[in-house]
């Protein structure tokens, strides 16, 4: 592989890592700041990706034996607004975030009252249910054959060979925007309430905070971020099918990222995504059976256990807010 090939590869890798970093940020809102044990990331991932894909793909052609009925074809409809900057992309991302947030409301209303590990079990069930719905309801999104022809954002600006460079910039802009938004939200009084809920629900309640309400808001906020991640994913791979939302790639890897980077720290969440995805991609180059996906599955599990046992704070850990000024 020559140097340009290596750079191309790294850019493609960084796009995926950046998308994972978005999920890691969303999970940080759930787990890192509020203490919501969500192991159903795959569900919100799928909702975001499918929403964005469904509203932007052209309507299905019957000649291709496609059974599904919906295709928003947003780029076509918004053609008159298109001043060379594909505005539909912004709408698709917002729609993905909104849909993930809306779906999170009933899930949250039902599950948020429950204790930590009940929430884990129910979110796991929700993710599985969402995956099964997309798999079985062919009219909705073409079942197991999935959706393709997902349009590229600014696809006609650069050549396909160089498209990853452009998309990396897009992903980094979205990531940076979300980072600033989450950080500001967490440093606001609203975020302090979340942290106090995470530390001790009773105390937060005793201080007159509506704990359920705040937890629900955090759940919706995090889910919306995951929805954005799903939309970014859909327009990168440009193909979504239920197989993409296997719990391994869509939930566990993200958990490993947040735990490694340091839950409760937004920089850590982003760093963790790049580190773990680096390990994941790097081991692919190792010789022999070490490169097999099964060994990586084992390593992801081991990584979570080892981090919890030996370094519960991850690489960065949470920044101390009050005592940092005290030597």
């Amino acid at each position: 592989m020559d140097i340009f090939g290596l750079i191309d590869y790294t850019v493609g890798w960084a796009v995926v890592a950046g998308i994972y970093a978005v999920f890691s940020l969303g999970l940080n809102v759930h787990w890192g700041f509020t203490g919501l044990f969500n192991i159903g990331i795959a569900g919100f991932f799928a909702i975001g990706a499918y929403t964005s894909a469904l509203i932007t793909t052209p309507p299905p052609k019957e000649a291709l034996f496609e059974d599904f009925i919906f295709g928003g074809n947003l780029p076509e409809y918004l053609g008159f607004l298109n001043f060379g900057i594909d505005l539909w992309f912004l709408l698709a991302i917002l729609a993905a975030a909104a849909m993930a947030g809306i779906i999170a409301i009933p899930i949250g209303l039902v599950t948020i009252r429950l204790k930590g590990d009940y929430l884990a079990i129910t979110t796991l069930g929700v993710a599985e249910a969402i995956r099964l719905i997309f798999l079985n309801e062919k009219w909705l999104a073409n079942g197991s054959r999935g959706l393709y022809n997902i349009p590229k954002f600014l696809g006609d600006v650069v050549t396909p060979a160089n498209y990853n460079y452009l998309y990396l910039i897009v992903v980094l802009i979205v990531l940076g925007f979300l980072y600033v938004m989450v950080t500001r939200a967490i440093n606001s009084p609203w975020g302090r309430v979340l942290k106090s809920i995470r530390e001790d629900e009773m105390t937060a309640q005793a201080n007159g905070k509506n704990v359920l309400n705040f937890k629900l808001q955090a759940f919706i906020f995090g889910a919306a971020i995951m929805g954005i991640g799903g939309a970014l994913y859909a327009h990168n791979i440009r193909f979504v099918s239920p197989i993409s939302f296997d719990p391994l790639y869509a939930t566990f890897v993200i958990w490993a990222m947040l735990m490694v980077g340091g839950s409760g720290n937004n920089k850590g969440a982003i760093l963790g995504a790049f580190v773990v995805w680096g390990i994941w991609a790097g081991t692919g180059f190792l010789p022999g059976f070490i490169a097999s996906p099964s060994i990586r599955l084992f390593m992801i599990g081991l990584l979570i256990v080892v981090v919890i046992l030996l370094r519960p704070d991850g690489i960065m850990g949470e920044e101390r807010k009050i005592s940092q000024k005290i030597p």
Partner: protein
């Protein structure tokens, strides 16, 4: 928060109403199937599936009750045991010429009966070993239940990784011989294996009952599940109780995994993981920490899952289990037999 209910032990409660409930539900099912609203065969299938769920969820509920966390790796214990039995049957037993199929009316052979106690010991040791290495440290550190659950999630992922590394991610066929069904009236066909599965589960449930009510360790286990602090104060060695809990839990998961392999005739690395939702549904339905409740919950989950296939797509079975779980959490979060909050 209801103190008055706390004082009444839930072990006394089961002698009263729930048996009546179960009989009532059974009666309703029989009447419905007589009126041919539901197919009796699906109910029988559900009972078999429920037996396997019951087997695994008894172990899961013991861990949940005694260690106070949701053990996410329970399904992967099942997977691992099923694969270990597959290995025993197809490699060492195969080479010394033991036929793995065709014992009496069953699809499997007598080597399976030799392999089951072995795999129970192996999985129980793995469970105790994992507790030694991982969970005990977290316990001593005073970690909360969510951290423990997350750690077990890591164990589950790693366990599945090991299974996939050794056996590959594809479907493995369990050695079996096709056998005739028993044809019963009302269009009911029962495979002989189903009777074996039901028998094993009945014997195990009864042994667990004797263990919990007649032995000192069993009583200590119930006391620990009821109130760990109080058990410690009265001189119960809770660490020993926890080891026994893991041994029982691992052993029961192992049997459940093997029975599932016999019933489905094929193995997948994700078979145990996808069993988690029905398992937790059964545990929560029955009331956490109550093995009798888990059996009842498992039967409800198993039967409703199978009967639902009469009207809806069979792939939605996990969703049915999940829906039951949600309804239960909303209406009666302490479970059918549970009294604690």
């Amino acid at each position: 928060m209801k103190q008055t209910e706390n004082t009444k032990s839930f072990w006394n409660l089961i002698k009263l109403t729930p048996v009546h409930y179960v009989l009532l539900v059974a009666l309703v099912i029989i009447i419905l199937s007589l009126l041919s609203v539901i197919k009796l065969e699906l109910v029988i299938n559900g009972l078999v599936m429920g037996s396997i769920i019951a087997m695994a969820s008894m172990g899961l509920t013991l861990v949940y009750g005694n260690l106070k966390f949701a053990h996410m790796a329970h399904g992967d214990f099942m997977t691992l045991s099923a694969y270990i039995v597959l290995f025993i049957l197809t490699v060492p037993f195969h080479y010394i010429g033991m036929r793995s199929t065709g014992l009496g009316p069953f699809t499997f052979g007598y080597p399976l009966l030799i392999a089951i106690p072995f795999v129970v010991l192996v999985t129980a040791s793995i469970a105790i070993g994992l507790d030694r290495i991982i969970y005990r440290r977290l316990r001593n550190r005073g970690s909360n239940s969510v951290i423990l659950a997350m750690c077990s999630l890591g164990v589950a992922i790693a366990g599945r990784g090991i299974v996939q590394t050794i056996w590959g991610g594809d479907i493995e066929q369990f050695p079996r011989l096709s056998k005739l069904y028993y044809q019963l009236p009302m269009d009911v066909r029962i495979p002989p294996d189903a009777i074996f599965i039901a028998g094993v589960v009945l014997i195990s449930t009864f042994s667990l009952h004797l263990f919990l009510t007649r032995t000192k360790m069993g009583k200590a286990m119930r006391a620990t599940a009821d109130n760990t602090e109080l058990a410690k104060v009265t001189g119960i060695n809770t660490e020993l109780v926890i080891r026994w809990t893991w041994a029982l839990s691992g052993g029961f998961a192992a049997i459940a995994g093997v029975l599932l392999a016999v019933f489905q005739a094929q193995l997948l690395p994700s078979m145990g993981w996808s069993f988690l939702i029905p398992l937790f549904a059964a545990v929560i339905l029955g009331g956490i920490g109550n093995p009798y409740g888990a059996v009842i919950g498992a039967m409800i989950v198993g039967i409703s899952g199978e009967v639902s296939t009469q009207w809806i797509n069979p792939t939605y079975k996990p969703v049915i289990a999940f829906a039951i779980l949600i309804i239960m959490l909303l209406l009666r979060p302490q479970g059918i037999l549970g009294t604690r909050d």
